[in-house]
Symmetry: C2
């Protein structure tokens, strides 16, 4: 994409995106994180965010049965060979590979990659060495990798081979990446369409990320136009049954590599599809920034409600006697306490976390040790939501800003 990309993603766009991300990072550290830390947010909800959580480039996850052309597709996007690349007709890619920007060509083994604090792969340690030895990073100075990181994966095999041949849980690892990625490309080979039960299982596990999924019907030039229609129809017919959303998934039909078309009957279609796919990829950094705003807003609202709950509980505690009885009572009546908070501070009910989980987590804390409500810090959080975030959004060109506002609108309901 490098050259093709350059004309259309003006440097401006990249500047805006990184300015927004920097702004988010500053907001989080100066206004959200202090509130989170005061009320032990990480003990209840999710870990404090690190710079790397903001800086990570948008990620694209490639999935497909073996030999559908995943690695070749990546080779085509980065316009160069990358270290550790293997392409061939047999199942070739035998590991997950994060293809990232780097000034020099380098391969980093999975065990090393998963402990780097500035990379977004720390969470993978939970899959153990059995997986990490089948994971690696590949750095190469391809321009497109300044915009996004690509995850190559081993092709899904059929039957026993997939189940027994892997020393780790393929579906769980895929789910982890799906969660972290901004786009998931499912590759299919038009020339040899096959959707094994194992691949169906992988697709089913992507549920909840439907909006990130795009389909690629690759090698579409290897068959006649009429055959292509049959194959494409069969693909949609089957996938419609596997993926439960009524909205149709976008499919890009073509041949995604640097070779001339075998059958150019559909050249016009293939060219248009390639253009669309590339411009979708180009929009990723911006969309990813919108998503990060979106997530920070969700998080800031939760941090505020969390602070209100904790400080309210603290406030209800007696000064001297019967502390543990009162604490138990407060936990048992958490629902009613939350209704009070809701009324007093005008919080929408949808903003409250799962109270059953809260109850469990609260029971291991001593309410006496919680800090009192600090009004200024809550006001500062309200300012984040009311002023700082909208100001960040105004940095985007009109269309993206509108999209972002829609997202926030949905959240506000």
């Amino acid at each position: 994409m490098g050259k093709k990309n350059k004309e259309k993603t003006p440097g401006d766009d990249r500047k805006v995106t990184s300015a927004v991300v920097e702004g988010l990072k500053k907001l989080y550290k100066s206004k959200v994180l202090p509130l989170e830390q005061l009320y032990k947010f990480a003990d209840f909800h999710s870990p404090y965010m690190l710079d790397s959580d903001f800086d990570a480039r948008p990620m694209v996850l490639m999935l497909g049965q073996y030999s559908t052309g995943k690695t070749t597709f990546i080779r085509y996007l980065v316009e160069r060979d990358f270290p550790g690349m293997h392409i061939g007709p047999e199942p070739t890619t035998d590991r997950f590979c994060a293809i990232q920007y780097g000034n020099e060509e380098r391969v980093t083994p999975g065990n090393a990659l998963a402990v780097q604090a500035d990379k977004p792969f720390r969470g993978l340690t939970k899959f153990g060495t059995a997986f990490l030895s089948k994971f690696q990073g590949a750095e190469t100075p391809a321009p497109i990798l300044e915009e996004l990181t690509i995850i190559d994966t081993p092709g899904v095999l059929s039957g026993e081979k997939q189940r027994l041949g892997r020393s780790y849980d393929f579906v769980q690892v895929t789910e982890w990446f799906a969660e972290k990625c901004d786009l998931i490309l499912l590759l299919f080979d038009a020339h040899k369409l096959d959707i094994s039960d194992e691949f169906k299982r992988v697709i089913t596990s992507l549920k909840g990320h439907d909006d990130k999924i795009r389909l690629v019907l690759n090698k579409a030039d290897m068959i006649t136009g009429q055959q292509l229609m049959r194959v494409y129809g069969a693909l949609m017919w089957s996938l419609g049954k596997v993926i439960q959303t009524p909205e149709v998934m976008r499919v890009y039909i073509g041949s995604f590599w640097d070779q001339p078309l075998h059958n150019d009957e559909n050249k016009r279609l293939f060219d248009a599809e390639q253009r669309d796919l590339l411009s979708d990829l180009r929009a990723l950094p911006r969309n990813s920034a919108v998503r990060k705003i979106n997530e920070l807003v969700k998080r800031a609202r939760l941090a505020k409600v969390h602070a209100l709950i904790i400080s309210h509980l603290k406030n209800e505690m007696p000064a001297m006697f019967g502390k543990s009885a009162k604490q138990a009572e407060l936990i048992a009546n958490l629902e009613e306490e939350c209704v009070k908070i809701q009324r007093q501070h005008g919080i929408p009910p949808g903003d409250f976390p799962d109270l059953n989980r809260m109850k469990e987590l609260l029971s291991v804390h001593d309410f006496g040790k919680f800090p009192k409500l600090d009004k200024r810090i809550i006001e500062s959080m309200d300012e984040v939501l009311a002023n700082d975030i909208p100001a960040l959004m105004r940095k985007f060109p009109q269309d993206t800003a509108t999209k972002a506002e829609q997202l926030l609108g949905e959240l506000g309901e």
Copy 2:
């Protein structure tokens, strides 16, 4: 199709087909019907067959939302206007219309058509005058109608209009025709794809006839190649959810009328699809003859088992006293009696009819009045199955004969 058709359906083929149908008719009347009548088959299973049940031309049922081009499609097949034809952008066809061969142009009102013994529409009387006044026949001397009869239908409307605007049960009527037809074409407008809940309900009601269904994505030349792919994908995605079979339905993509293509980007595809559709239609008479053989075999086997059951029951009856007690006992123990018949005559268990239904029907008959087993007539039925039908099948060219034998093989399991 007329002219296009002539070169490829040699008169030979038509001769073979009608020879087979004549043969079936003779077999039924000379060997199957006498056995059926002897043991009152029609009281228990289905009405005695008339010549018209054999002679009826294969029927093609057209279904689709309004304005998808159903009537235009028929106009294109018959290569002429037919009486009562209405084509237009608004919902135009307001009734079911059977377009049949006739030496002269003629319209027959539904009430008259449904009582004609030589036509296959007698069953429609059960839908009453409310329906029959929305049904008509159109005769015209188009060559293709010598091979098949076409049923035009009013377009399915959306929402209330469909439910309230019809004075009869559209889904039930459709089901009746689906049962009688050899091919069901579901038309969709690529230019304005819409699958209303009402149309989905119609499609769902076709369950059990999946092998007869073909899809037509019409007006495919009114949009660009890329739009067509989106629309086609959406169609298959949605239908895959509505129709439960894993096998993909065949779709014919094109523009089925006599006008030049609006956008000829996909001319090659459209031409190939048109050819395929026409040759599928051409194969109908032969396939329909195979289906008739198939049905006669099923019927003959059932008639034989029926005769064995009835004559066995007769045989078990006492000569003088305790007749009604014995009859009640036989009915209550019908399962065990059938096991005896099964053993004695070597009948596969799958050949027996639904015994609960049998019990009910038996209770209103007097076993004493049943005739005794006539060995010769059973032997004659065995001859039908062992010799006469295979001899008829040998009249077909090799490929059809093979197909027919497969069908029979499945039955025999």
